[in-house]
């Protein structure tokens, strides 16, 4: 397993919003988080939302304090994620796994001719 750091920035929240206030982190540095687990609660002029984690990994760093105003696109959090060695599938599908010993039930009888 290889490790890799990935930084996630404040996503475009739509509706022309350009910034958001960090209300409360739902994780701490060093904590393990799963993909889609609650990551951070932010508030815009329109509403408050909980942003789910885009990655599974360990939180390596938080780039904003609570109550800090963060512009869209600014770094929010860095994850340390594990990457499987070996081939990576594309965006769609999985790498087929090779069966070590292919299983069979049918037995053959050689022809007599």
């Amino acid at each position: 397993m290889a490790e890799e750091n990935i930084t996630f920035s404040l996503p475009d929240l739509g509706e022309g919003l350009v910034e958001a206030t960090v209300l409360e982190w739902q994780v701490e540095v060093g904590e393990r988080i799963g993909r889609n687990d609650p990551l951070v609660e932010v508030e815009t002029t329109k509403s408050a939302v909980v942003i789910p984690s885009p990655e599974s990994g360990v939180v390596a760093g938080l780039h904003a304090e609570e109550e800090q105003v963060v512009p869209v696109g600014a770094p929010l959090v860095t994850f340390t994620v594990e990457r499987k060695d070996g081939p990576q599938a594309g965006i769609v599908g999985r790498v087929p796994t090779e069966e070590a010993a292919p299983r069979r039930r049918v037995r053959l009888k050689p022809p007599t001719d």
Binding site: P87, G90, P96, R104
Partner: protein
């Protein structure tokens, strides 16, 4: 036309190296882009991203965004653009991201790409190679596991090819892109990550030839794409029972190597065709017919077909129930042996 182009710098490596099929195709594309300034690569996510399977990785950086570029998500437009470029002297290599997304472009492929040369009495050849990630085996969602070879093979004017290993993928792609005729180049997705030692070589066999990948004397297994490997597995198991199966990689699905089929089956007297596509009106019927027409008196048993089922391609977790299994192929072999 192609012969006018110098190939000095792009002469492929001759030593044996280990490559996956996605890397081998990437090498072939690089060779083609380097040797012929008329070659253009484009499609959805082909440029900046380098393809969803990394097949065009690094090529936009190397050759610039005028020759390797992203298109809108509009398959019909991608193929229509290829037609226009070909008419103006380019050698387009469009990609349609997945087999199932070729359907929106069928009008362009069938009504324009395949016919233009015929329609213009040779004034507007279509040196287009449509790269189409094809077939199943990677548990992808709907529209990402289809086998369209029968549809394309049934369209006069198109050539159709499906490589089964990295070395083949390399030389068959060179051959396809250098051909002045339109070729549908079907990349078996299940083989993309399959790494093996290959010698990247210039094509040696003519278009429309098959190859025997394992010789045997009791029956011939005919397959293409990932099913070649399924047949090699079956041949290995059959050998434990004392049955020697020949495995023939058809690779060119239009034109089909009728002589190659006949030569193999005349010796083995039995044939099983294996493909992922559904049974009815699949290419297996054509293969079976070609064998029967040529080898009727030699055949010890009717030609068997082992195929996907006549249902829409299933969801990923059910895929292994749909694709020809080892036992289904073995059972078909046994039917030919016992006939």
């Amino acid at each position: 036309m192609t012969e006018l182009i110098e190939r000095a710098e792009s002469a492929p490596e001759t030593e044996t190296i280990e490559l996956s099929m996605q890397q081998a195709i990437n090498r072939a594309l690089r060779t083609l882009l380097a040797e012929d300034p008329r070659v253009l690569l484009f499609g959805e996510d082909v440029g900046a991203l380098g393809g969803v399977f990394r097949v065009s990785d690094g090529l936009q950086k190397e050759f610039g965004d005028q020759r390797v570029f992203d298109t809108p998500l509009a398959e019909s437009a991608i193929m229509g653009m290829a037609v226009g470029l070909a008419m103006n002297g380019w050698r387009p290599v469009p990609e349609l991201q997945f087999d199932g997304f070729a359907y929106p472009a069928i009008d362009q492929i069938v009504n324009q790409v395949a016919r233009m040369n015929y329609r213009t009495r040779g004034a507007a050849p279509m040196p287009i190679t449509l790269r189409l990630p094809s077939f199943g085996g990677i548990q992808a969602p709907e529209h990402h596991g289809e086998s369209l070879e029968a549809l394309f093979a049934h369209t006069p004017g198109l050539k159709v090819v499906a490589p089964s290993d990295p070395g083949e993928a390399y030389s068959l792609l060179l051959q396809s892109v250098r051909s002045d005729d339109p070729v549908v180049y079907m990349e078996p997705k299940a083989c993309y990550w399959d790494r093996r030692p290959v010698r990247l070589s210039e094509p040696t066999d003519p278009i429309g030839t098959s190859r025997v990948v394992r010789p045997g004397r009791h029956a011939t297994l005919v397959a293409w794409g990932a099913m070649v490997h399924r047949c090699l597995q079956v041949a290995e198991l059959a050998a434990e029972d004392g049955v020697e199966l020949e495995v023939l990689d058809l690779r060119w699905l239009k034109p089909i190597d009728a002589a190659g089929l006949a030569a193999s089956v005349a010796r083995t007297k039995r044939a099983v065709v294996v493909h992922e596509a559904p049974l009815t009106a699949g290419l297996g019927a054509e293969v079976s017919s070609l064998i029967t027409e040529q080898c009727f008196r030699d055949l010890a048993a009717p030609v068997q077909r082992v195929t996907g089922f006549d249902v829409p391609y299933p969801a990923g977790p059910l895929e292994h129930q749909y694709l020809p299994t080892i036992d289904r192929v073995l059972f078909a072999v046994q039917r030919t042996l016992e006939y």
